[in-house]
Symmetry: C2
Subunit: 217 residues, 2 copies
DNA sequence: CATGCTTTCATGTGATCACAAAGCCCGCCG
DNA sequence: CGGCGGGCTTTGTGATCACATGAAAGCATG
């Protein structure tokens, strides 16, 4: 008899996958700082696995750009240059504007309601100055919308970009002291309600590129 | 003394990297058919390495979408649905139009000359009905142009899409019996010469999406 | 001849080990 | 006091092995 089959994907999954997922969310949510070093043995110790699954998880994350491998194989979170950050922001704009546009005709009231719920939590995180919580709920807002686009490959690419920006976003929003609620999110919701595609594209583009300009100079 | 330091990146690199690169080009150039099965021990035997580096290479390629891992861990090249193909084509259009647009102001005569040289080889491959050769030189044409965009992250994403489409492109172009030279490539070159950005965007979009419509129906 | 089961084999997973090289730290010498 | 060298430690790499699982082949049965 098989004792596996847990709730969703927490245990019962291969060890390397469990490690991969844990590290992935940690990086995407900005729980690690740019340039932070990781070691295979350290990861193995933390997750109580051997080096083998740790190595596979790291390799996979490195392939997605979430981790940087030095020439000697040392692994750390990437420290992005300003140029790279701007390029990734442009990628976010490109991909997410398209995703939002594709989601628009499928966005019904239930979705908009859920987006408003999530957005309330985003505002709460901003007011609490909880950087990690803000990043997490902000990404949840975007993902909830984009899921309606029915474009899994495109969404995967967008998430890859989020992953690459994770540690840097934390560092950015961490030193950003603002308490104003997410205005662009309101514009996105309004455009969704009105079925205004150009407005939606503009709002998404603004939301995605804002906060990443404040580093130049 | 260290005997390493070869020409470029062929040997002297870690075994897993060597295996990764070999498999990657094989997949991207369409040298494998969709759904083809691979085994870790088989890869290890072919490249004279153990299972460990073979596993890392496979894991990395799977993370890029170049390989499909079944729930039991079996590895094969992906068999794409029509919807997935259309989505990837849309991604190509999105990314490559942007890359071409960014390359345009930097495209000097030397680049255009080189593109014309490559394009001659593309035409030759078409006339010889060499599917793999066609895919390889066609991608070289695009990559040569996009390198001028100075956008490494964006180029990497485009290459990831190529990788996912590799086996399918082979299957498509394999049963496509045409001998007409690549007309869209000429349009791209003409637009580059004229500095015509809208024309360039249109030409790239056409080139990228053509040949992927002929599967619907 | 088709169908169901059982046995067998191939395959992925994860742990452990030996090895080489890259850091790192401490002490020595200028 | 500062730069530098040598030994120690940490780290990644790759090989090998035991194990569990899932697929495939063979066999018997209807």
């Amino acid at each position: 008899m098989n004792l596996t089959a847990r709730s969703s994907q927490d245990a019962a999954a291969p060890a390397h996958d469990r490690v991969y997922r844990a590290l992935r969310t940690r990086i995407m949510h900005g729980e690690v700082t740019p340039g932070a070093a990781l070691t295979l043995r350290g990861i193995g110790r933390e997750f109580e696995v051997s080096m083998t699954p740790a190595r596979e998880a790291v390799r996979r994350l490195a392939a997605e750009g979430a981790l940087f491998l030095s020439s000697s194989g040392r692994v750390s979170t990437p420290e992005l240059t300003n140029e790279r950050i701007e390029e990734l922001a442009a990628l976010r704009a490109l991909l997410e504007v398209e995703l939002a546009s594709r989601a628009l005709p499928r966005a019904h009231m239930a979705l908009i309601d859920r987006l408003q719920m999530i957005n309330a939590t985003v505002a709460e995180m901003v007011s609490k100055r909880d950087a990690v919580g803000y990043i997490r709920t902000n990404l949840e807002f975007h993902r909830t919308l984009y899921l309606r686009a029915q474009a899994p490959a495109m969404l995967a690419m967008a998430e890859t970009v989020w992953l690459q920006l994770g540690p840097t976003m934390r560092a950015l929003y961490g030193r950003l002291r603002r308490t104003d609620p997410p205005q662009n999110h309101r514009l996105i919701i309004a455009a969704l309600k009105a079925g205004d595609e150009p407005g939606l594209r503009l709002a998404v583009r603004s939301d995605v590129t804002q906060g990443l300009r404040l580093l130049a100079g």
